[in-house]
């Protein structure tokens, strides 16, 4: 079985950029992030393990040798939201953030928001970071392009972007 190597992770970042800007259906914010990840994994026969809480921590696993990625994507999109995305990602610094990394918000104990980074550019004159992202929403929307200085984006969870915990997918 293939594993998530540095090369595959680099390919994911490149893939995400094109995926989010060309996605043409209405979609919820977390679902777009999950679709980007799982469609890439399906394309490259890579495993995915996502943890969720249901009376204790449990795992939802995609084994490319055994599972259908489209069916897995549908199941995960139905059962997981932005707060689950937070649980399966780790903080990264804004100066290392790449396409496919996420900017999360946690509105309440049941609702959050997911933005998928398209590009990050350092503004030389200010030292700040200009971020372009795409997002689904609730009510669902055809992904919309947004742009702002990172520090001006409201309610960023942990005050930093997040990246999928690729290491946990190989376990």
């Amino acid at each position: 079985m293939a594993t998530w190597t540095d090369d595959k992770i680099t390919q994911y970042h490149e893939y995400a950029k094109t995926y989010i800007e060309s996605y043409s259906q209405r979609i919820d914010c977390a679902d777009l992030a999950l679709a980007t990840l799982i469609d890439f994994a399906g394309l490259h026969a890579l495993p995915v393990r996502l943890k969720y809480y249901s009376g204790g921590w449990k795992w939802k696993q995609f084994d490319p040798a055994r599972d259908n990625s489209v069916a897995f994507k549908g199941e995960v999109q139905t059962m997981m939201g932005a707060l689950n995305v937070i649980d399966n990602t780790a903080s990264v610094n804004i100066d290392t953030a790449k396409a496919g990394d996420l900017i999360m918000s946690k509105w309440s104990n049941s609702l959050g928001h997911t933005r998928i980074i398209h590009s990050v550019t350092r503004v030389e004159s200010t030292g700040q970071y200009q971020v372009v992202w795409y997002q689904g929403n609730l009510p669902p929307v055809v992904p919309e392009r947004k742009e702002d200085i990172f520090s001006a984006i409201a309610s960023v969870y942990g005050n930093s972007p997040r990246r999928w915990k690729f290491g946990q997918f190989n376990q």
Binding site: R26, C29, T78, S105, W107, S108, S110, L111, H113, R115, Q135, N137, L138, P139, P140, V141, V142, E144, R145, K146, E147, D148, I153, A154, S155
Partner: protein, 156 residues
Amino acid sequence: LGNSINRLFILAFIAFPQMMACRNVSEVSQATAPSPSIATTDKASTDCVNEALGKGVLARVDEKQKRYFVIQKSATVDTLRPMIKKIEPCLPKDWADQWALSVFTTKELAGYQDETGIVPFHKNDRWAKGYLAEYDGKKKEVTFSPAIKPRIVSIK
């Protein structure tokens, strides 16, 4: 000249506030832009929907996403099916089989979850509880309680 231009801009903003708001939402791409009220270039369609649904039901139109936001005390298949039938003849030509209907309990909740005007309502999940249903005109499906416990029903 500068003053004249400024005055012209202010006049334009007063005269066409909805148009300006609509363009801002579409092009300035601020995730936190305030919720626009009803804004449409196809006034005839909006008038038609308003007339079909009655006063105070249509809260907002999102032209870009082809979505009507409406206000209802409750939402069931039996209440939504006739509402959809009333709206369909009013749809702009390019909305057919692409449009969406979002049902909320009050006008103040009728918006997208990340909008500045909506975020305060996430306290105690007031927005999520007030988001009663979502109709997808392409799939002909209604999702009840989309933000809490989604339940999908086909209404073909």
